[in-house]
C-alpha cells in the first residue's frame, strides 16, 4: 500500500486571521474552526490525531513512568516515526510564530474538533478521548517555558492569583514542607498561586500540596492540574451536548469516517501479499498453541471442538488465516473438512462456500479484505454463542485467569495480566501475555492479531537461523 499518498498535503494558505487565532502552542480550543477544508485534509487530520493519541496511550502502557523523560522521549520518537512532525513542533517550547508553527496549531485545532464529533457518541469513547486530550495538553504545557505559560494564561484570560511576598513569607515553612520537588530557595524564588482545592484534588489526594482554608497553594508547574481540571469540565459537558446535537450532522461523506474513526487502524494492514511464506495446514494446530494470540486460539479451539463457528467467528478467523499465509485451496479445504464433520458436503457447498470464497476475494466485490485489528475486535459486539472476542476484554475474570494459566503463563504473570485487564488495558494485557509465554517480549505493543503471530514466528525463525549459522 502506498502509505505516502495519504500524507501528500494540499497546501492551504494561512490567512491573516489565523496568525492571531493560532498564536500559542497551548490551546483550550474555545472556538470552532470556521474555514473551508478539503475533505481529504479533514480525513488526514482526523487519522493523524487518532494516531497521536494512540502513541500517547501506548507510551505509558509500554512501562514508561507517566510524564517521565523516557515517556516523553518515547512519544516524540514515535511521533517522528509516524510522520507527525507537525504535532512534534508544538512540543518545541519556543512558541514560534513562523508559518509552520501556525500551520501546526491549525492542524491541532481542527483535528481536535473533528475528534470531538467522532468521540462524543458514547460514554466509553468520550472517556478515552478526554483522557488523551488532557494528556496531550499536559505534554504541551510542560514543554513550555515560564514566560510562555504566562502568555498562555493571559491570552486565555485565566486569572490565577499569585500570592503576595508577605503572604509567602508567612506561609514559607508550610510551603517548603508541602511542595514536593522544591527546596527552600526554589520555593522563595518562584511564584505561588492560590486556587480552590477542588481544582487540584488529585494533588490533594497525593498530599502533594499545601492546603489552607479551602485553598491550595501551588507553584506554576502545578497550575497545569488546575487548568486541566477546568478543561476537563468544559470539554466533558461540551461532548455531552454535542452528542445530543449530533443527529443534525447529516453528511454521509463525514458520518462514515467519523463513526469508524476509533476503530480506524493506523498500523500495518496485514493484507496478504504474494511474497509471504505459505504455511502448511498440518501445522495449524501446533501454531495455535505456540504462536496464536489468545483470541485466535480461542476461535481455533472452538472450531475444532464444535466443528462450527458463527458468522463473525468465521470472518475474523478466516481473514486471520488468510493473512498468516494459508493458500486459497487449503483455506477452503480447511473449513470444509471441519464443517463437514457435522454436515454433508452439499450443505457446506450450499450454505458456506460462497461466504468463504467471498472472504478470499474470489467472488462478489473481489476485495482483498484486511484482517481485523485488535481495536476492531475489542469494540465488536459479542453475543451468546459467539467465539469471536478479545478474551482479555470479553471473557469473565475466572475464565480468563484459568485460560491464561492453562496456556502457560506463570502465576506472577497471571496476576499482572489480570491487573491490567482490571484497569481496561486489554492490549497491554495481551502484550504481557506474549512476554510471559515467549522467551522474549514482543518488540511493540500488540495492536493486531497478525502482528502477534508474526512476532511470535520471528522468534522461532531467529532461533533456527542462529542454529543454522
Amino acid at each position: 500500500m502506498d502509505t505516502n499518498a495519504r500524507r501528500r498535503r494540499v497546501h492551504t494558505t494561512v490567512e491573516d486571521t489565523e496568525a492571531t487565532l493560532y498564536n500559542h502552542d497551548l490551546s483550550l480550543y474555545p472556538k470552532f474552526p470556521c474555514s473551508e477544508i478539503p475533505l481529504s485534509e479533514f480525513e488526514e487530520l482526523a487519522i493523524d490525531r487518532v494516531q497521536l493519541f494512540r502513541i500517547i496511550e501506548q507510551a505509558s502502557l509500554k512501562g514508561h513512568k507517566y510524564f517521565s523523560d523516557e515517556w516523553k522521549k518515547c512519544i516524540k520518537d514515535d511521533m517522528m516515526k509516524n510522520n507527525l512532525k507537525k504535532f512534534v513542533r508544538l512540543l518545541s517550547g519556543f512558541n514560534g510564530q513562523t508559518e509552520l508553527d501556525i500551520q501546526a496549531r491549525r492542524a491541532d485545532h481542527i483535528s481536535h474538533f473533528i475528534l470531538r464529533i467522532a468521540y462524543c457518541r458514547s460514554e466509553e469513547l468520550r472517556k478515552w478521548f478526554l483522557a488523551r486530550e488532557l494528556e496531550w495538553f499536559k505534554i504541551k504545557f510542560v514543554s513550555n517555558s515560564t514566560p510562555s505559560i504566562l502568555k498562555f494564561l493571559q491570552l486565555n484570560e485565566l486569572n490565577y492569583q499569585t500570592i503576595s511576598n508577605e503572604e509567602k513569607e508567612d506561609l514559607k515553612e508550610s510551603l517548603i514542607v508541602c511542595t514536593p520537588g522544591m527546596n527552600d530557595v526554589q520555593v522563595m524564588m518562584s511564584e505561588f498561586y492560590k486556587v480552590p482545592f477542588l481544582d487540584v484534588w488529585t494533588l490533594v489526594q497525593k498530599r502533594r500540596v499545601f492546603l489552607k482554608e479551602g485553598y491550595a497553594y501551588i507553584p506554576i508547574n502545578d497550575l497545569v492540574v488546575s487548568i486541566q481540571s477546568t478543561f476537563r469540565t468544559t470539554l466533558s459537558s461540551k461532548l455531552v451536548l454535542m452528542n445530543r446535537n449530533l443527529p443534525n450532522l447529516d453528511d454521509e461523506r463525514l458520518s462514515n469516517l467519523l463513526c469508524n474513526l476509533h476503530q480506524a487502524y493506523t498500523g500495518n494492514e496485514y493484507t496478504v501479499s504474494n511474497d509471504k511464506d505459505a504455511i502448511n495446514p498440518a501445522d495449524i494446530d501446533e501454531y495455535s498453541k505456540k504462536h496464536y494470540p489468545l483470541c485466535m486460539r480461542n476461535l481455533h479451539e472452538t472450531l475444532r471442538a464444535n466443528h462450527h463457528l458463527k458468522h463473525y467467528g468465521r470472518l475474523i478467523y478466516g481473514l486471520f488465516l488468510k493473512a498468516i499465509g494459508l493458500k486459497y485451496e487449503q483455506f477452503i479445504e480447511f473449513w470444509r473438512s471441519e464443517f463437514t464433520k457435522t454436515m454433508d458436503t452439499d450443505a457446506f457447498n450450499k450454505n458456506h462456500l460462497y461466504n468463504f470464497n467471498h472472504q478470499f476475494g474470489k467472488v462478489g466485490k473481489r476485495v482483498n479484505y484486511s484482517p481485523y485489528s485488535c481495536m476492531k475486535i475489542i469494540m465488536s459486539n459479542v453475543g451468546a454463542g459467539d467465539a469471536h472476542c478479545c478474551p482479555f476484554r470479553h471473557f469473565d475474570v475466572g475464565r480468563l485467569r484459568a485460560k491464561i494459566s492453562e496456556c502457560g503463563a506463570p502465576s506472577e504473570g497471571v496476576s499482572e495480566i489480570m491487573q491490567l485487564v482490571n484497569n481496561g488495558h486489554y492490549q497491554i494485557a495481551c502484550t504481557k501475555y506474549f512476554q510471559y509465554t515467549h522467551p522474549q517480549p514482543s518488540s511493540n505493543t500488540i495492536n493486531h492479531p497478525n502482528q502477534y503471530f508474526e512476532e511470535s514466528m520471528n522468534l522461532v525463525k531467529d532461533k533456527t537461523e542462529k542454529i543454522v549459522s
Binding site: 508541602c178 477542588l198 490533594v204 489526594q205 497525593k206 498530599r207 482554608e213 479551602g214 485553598y215
Partner: protein, 400 residues
C-alpha cells in the same frame, strides 16, 4: 450497602422498646428539624432524598422518598422502623427505582464514620461492639483531628458530630461545597486523611516526604494531650505480647537496644519512658527519623471507615435514632466538649419517655408551652441540632 449492623444473637427488641418507639418518634425526635436539614430547607430536595427503614422484623427498605413532611412523618408512625437511614439526593425521586429506573446520586453531606471496633488491636479495655469511657479517648482524638483538618485545610464550618448509639461516632459536613463533592473527590479526601496503611503490616504508619509534616504534626499535638493516659489506661506495653508487638514496629538494626531498656522495667509508663530515653540516646548516632511519631500515630490516629465517606449513595443512620441494641439515642455532641462526653449519661429511649411522663404528671407544669423534648434530657442535644441547621440555612441564603 448499609446493612443491619450486627447479626449477633442478642434478643430482639424488648416489649418496652416496641411500645415506646412510636411515642418517641411522634413526641420527642426532632423530625421537623431533620426534615429541614435533609432537604436543605427545600421540600423538593427532600423529595429526592433517599430514606431507608429497618423494620423490627429485620426487613430493610431502601429507595424510599417522601414528597412532604406529613408523608415522611406518617410513614414513620405507621411502619415504626427501628432504624432510619439517610442517603443521597438523586436526580429523580428515588422511589421511582421501584418502577425500574436507574438512579443517579448528585449530592449528599460529606460524612465520616469511625468505629471503635477498628481499634481492637490497640485497646485492651473492651473489644468488638463494647465501648467505655476509656476507649472514648480514641474517639476524642478522632473528633479533634478530623475537625481540625476539615476547618483548617478545607474551610468547612457546618459540622455536626453524632454519637452513633453504640460503638462509634459520625461526622456530618453540610456546607454546600461539601455536599456537591463527587465520589472521586470524596475518595481523594479520605486518602488525604488516612495515614495508616491497610493490611496486616506490623508497621502501619511510615512518614515519608509525601506525608507532610503539617498534617502529622497537628495530629501529634492533639494525640499528645491523650497519649500518656491511653498508654496507662490501656496498659499498652504491660504484657510481653504487647511489648513484642511494639518492638516489631522498630527497625531490626536498633530493636535490640530498645528491647534491652524496655524489658528492664515492667509497667507501661515506665516502658514508654525507657523507650523515650533510648530514643534520645540513639538519635545522635542513628537516624531514627520520625519513629516516635509513627508509633504514636499507629496507636491513635483516626481509623476511618472509608467506604462510608467515599460514595455518595452510601447511607448513614439519622441522628436521634434509637440504637436498637443499646436503646441509646444517637445524640449530637460538640467537638470542643468531646472530652466531657459521658457514655453512661447518654439518654436512652426508656429514660426520655419516663422523663416526659414524670414531667407531665407533675402538679406544677410551669413554664407553660414547653415542647415535649424540653421536658427531657434531650434538650441540649436538640438545641445543638437546631443551631447547626439554622446556621446552615442562614449561610446558604447568604452565600448562594
Amino acid at each position: 450497602m448499609a446493612s443491619a449492623c450486627c447479626s449477633d444473637n442478642e434478643p430482639a427488641f424488648t416489649e418496652e422498646y416496641l411500645k415506646n418507639i412510636v411515642p418517641y418518634y411522634t413526641k420527642l425526635m426532632p423530625l421537623p428539624k431533620l426534615y429541614e436539614w435533609f432537604g436543605y430547607g427545600n421540600p423538593e430536595i427532600f423529595a429526592k432524598r433517599e430514606i431507608s427503614f429497618t423494620l423490627s422484623n429485620d426487613v430493610y427498605i431502601r429507595y424510599q422518598s417522601f414528597d412532604s413532611f406529613e408523608e415522611f412523618f406518617n410513614e414513620i408512625k405507621k411502619k415504626a422502623p427501628v432504624k432510619i437511614d439517610i442517603g443521597a439526593i438523586y436526580k429523580t425521586k428515588p422511589k421511582i427505582k421501584a418502577l425500574g429506573f436507574e438512579l443517579t446520586a448528585t449530592r449528599k453531606d460529606l460524612v465520616f464514620d469511625i468505629d471503635i471496633s477498628d481499634y481492637d488491636d490497640v485497646r485492651t479495655c473492651c473489644n468488638g461492639a463494647g465501648i467505655c469511657n476509656k476507649c472514648w479517648k480514641f474517639m476524642a482524638i478522632a473528633t479533634k483531628i478530623i475537625s481540625a483538618v476539615l476547618k483548617e485545610d478545607f474551610n468547612y464550618e457546618h459540622i455536626l458530630w453524632v454519637f452513633s448509639g453504640r460503638r462509634g461516632i459520625h461526622c456530618w459536613v453540610a456546607d454546600r461545597h461539601a455536599r456537591e463533592l463527587t465520589n472521586e473527590v470524596r475518595s481523594a479526601m479520605t486518602e488525604y486523611f488516612n495515614l495508616l496503611k491497610d493490611g496486616n503490616k506490623t508497621k502501619k504508619v511510615v512518614l515519608t516526604g509525601r506525608i507532610h509534616k503539617k498534617i502529622y504534626e497537628r495530629a501529634i499535638k492533639i494525640i499528645d494531650e491523650y497519649f500518656m493516659d491511653i498508654l496507662e489506661e490501656q496498659d499498652l506495653l504491660g504484657t510481653d505480647l504487647r511489648l513484642r508487638k511494639f518492638l516489631d514496629m522498630i527497625d531490626k538494626g536498633v530493636r535490640k537496644q530498645f528491647q534491652k531498656s524496655m524489658t528492664a522495667v515492667k509497667c507501661s509508663v515506665e516502658r514508654w519512658e525507657a523507650f523515650e530515653q533510648t530514643f534520645t540516646e540513639l538519635q545522635e548516632s542513628d537516624d531514627l527519623k520520625t519513629l516516635k511519631e509513627e508509633i504514636k500515630l499507629q496507636y491513635t490516629y483516626p481509623r476511618l471507615d472509608v467506604h462510608v465517606t467515599r460514595s455518595l449513595d452510601h447511607l448513614l443512620k439519622t441522628p436521634f435514632c434509637v440504637h436498637p441494641k443499646t436503646e441509646k439515642i444517637c445524640i449530637p455532641f460538640e467537638a470542643e466538649k468531646v472530652d466531657d462526653f459521658d457514655l453512661e449519661k447518654v439518654p436512652t429511649l426508656s429514660k426520655v419517655i419516663e422523663e416526659l411522663k414524670t414531667y407531665d404528671e407533675r402538679e406544677d407544669t410551669l413554664p407553660l408551652g414547653l415542647n415535649d423534648y424540653q421536658k427531657t434530657s434531650l434538650t441540649q442535644h436538640i438545641e445543638l441540632l437546631e443551631r447547626f441547621v439554622n446556621n446552615l440555612e442562614k449561610d446558604d441564603k447568604m452565600k448562594y
